[in-house]
């Protein structure tokens, strides 16, 4: 039973497996994001209040939801690093931090663009969700800079793992911020089955599809950057040298 778990720790095994999966994942990502984008931008009916600006929410909600997954992901990977010292977990955690910062940034950017039309403001300091998301962005940048500051890669791995576990507190704050401090940002809308309602199926199915697409995109980018990391860190391993020799 533990065999697959032990295998998971082997960068070589991961590299070979991901080579097989990657093309399929890329195709799926392109298909799902493509469908969701076309649907959201061309066919989604305008909201009765917001008009066509509501379409950007499909991207915003999907990216924002996904960006909350980074700290838990890094915390799980970090725990694996701290407990089992698995090399692969740290490679994933390292790339997740930078990727997460980008996701948070896109969340803030799309939210601001939408807000500038619907709320009449690009930024509102009194809103807890905006501010807590901004601080998630800062925290992720903090993890990235801690990683680059520590030269010993083993120490950096453990230190970042610990920081990621502590950073999970902020995810809870972001998630519940709209319910604890009710200001500008609305809480999650309940899905409705009635077509033509404010949050009817045509809207949330597009959003759900986009969420799936963004998660696929996240996996693809994470796998690609992890493969890169594997080649870099295992450059002295025989199998990597053989691989590079075969490429030449």
């Amino acid at each position: 039973m533990w065999l697959w778990f032990a295998k998971l720790g082997s960068p070589k095994w991961f590299y070979e497996l991901s080579s097989k999966w990657l093309p399929w994942l890329v195709v799926a990502t392109v298909l799902v994001i493509g469908t969701a984008t076309v649907w959201a931008l061309l066919f989604l009916p305008p909201d009765y209040q917001q008009g066509y600006t509501s379409r950007i929410l499909v991207v915003h909600v999907a990216v924002a939801g996904t960006s909350l997954a980074f700290f838990p992901l890094m915390a799980v990977a970090g725990t694996i690093t701290l407990v089992w010292k698995m090399k692969l977990a740290d490679m994933v955690a390292k790339n997740a931090a930078a990727l997460g910062a980008w996701f948070s940034f896109i969340t803030l950017a799309t939210g601001s663009i939408w807000g500038s039309v619907s709320w009449g403001t690009w930024w509102e300091w009194s809103d807890s969700r905006l501010v807590s998301m901004l601080f998630q962005f800062f925290l992720l940048l903090g993890v990235v800079s801690l990683r680059s500051a520590l030269e010993d890669s083993d120490k950096a791995a453990k230190a970042c793992a610990l920081l990621s576990i502590v950073g999970c507190i902020n995810v809870v704050i972001i998630k519940y911020s709209v319910e604890w401090w009710n200001t500008l940002h609305q809480p999650a809308s309940p899905v409705s089955l009635q077509t033509g309602s404010a949050n009817g199926p045509e809207f949330w199915i597009a959003t759900a599809l986009m969420i799936l697409g963004v998660y696929l995109f996240l996996s693809v980018s994470l796998i690609l950057s992890t493969r890169n990391e594997i080649l870099q860190r295992e450059r002295r391993a025989l199998w990597v040298q053989e691989l590079v020799a075969a490429e030449r």
């Binding site: 800079s145 500051a149 120490k155 453990k158 610990l162 920081l163 704050i173």
Partner: protein, 231 residues
Amino acid sequence: MLSASVKPSTRSAFMLTLKRDLLIAFKRKNDIVNPFMFFVIVISLFPLAISPEGEKLAEIAAGVIWIAVLLSAMLSMDSLYRGDFEDGSLEILLLSPHPLFFLVLAKNIAHWLVSGFPVVIASPLLAYMLKLPSESYGTLMLTLLIGTPTLSLIGSIAVALTVGLGSRGLILAVITLPFSVPVLIFGTLAVQASASGLPAGGYLTLLLALLAGSLSLAPLTSAAALRISVS
């Protein structure tokens, strides 16, 4: 200081660490005085830069004091484990048979007594300089009394993570400041509430909750971080 044959209890180890750190702090006064001077100077810059008018100053007083506290805490935190790391006594601390939780807590308390506590004592004077309404002096002191130890405990984690680095002033701030935001928010909200005649009890209890949480969890995390850094 201790003969090898006597194995002290955890309580006496806690007290000894506390005493030792206080002694070191008083021998190296610069580490205490400079962050405190920084705190006072930063605060006195605001009336010069923004406006000497009483009304405007009163409005921003709570925020200015709290931000100055945060910034000077960043400076003073730097010396929390550095000396011990450089002379190797941190390794002795890690090797001790006592739970590291209590030793880290003792170091944090000693550090707060020399860095956070003077700020609490000096705050009414600075509040007066910033024209804060006098009825909120009490609330300000209470928020600082609860908030500064929380900041020290949170900051201790980041200091422990970066203790081996040569120059780490900035990375310390980048990691610690985002985590300190809840303390800043509730601290300033409490003072603003009391300045406008509203009850501040709710914010104070939230601050107490943050203190209780960080008192029980932060030394554990700092201990784990120290074990990572010194290995």
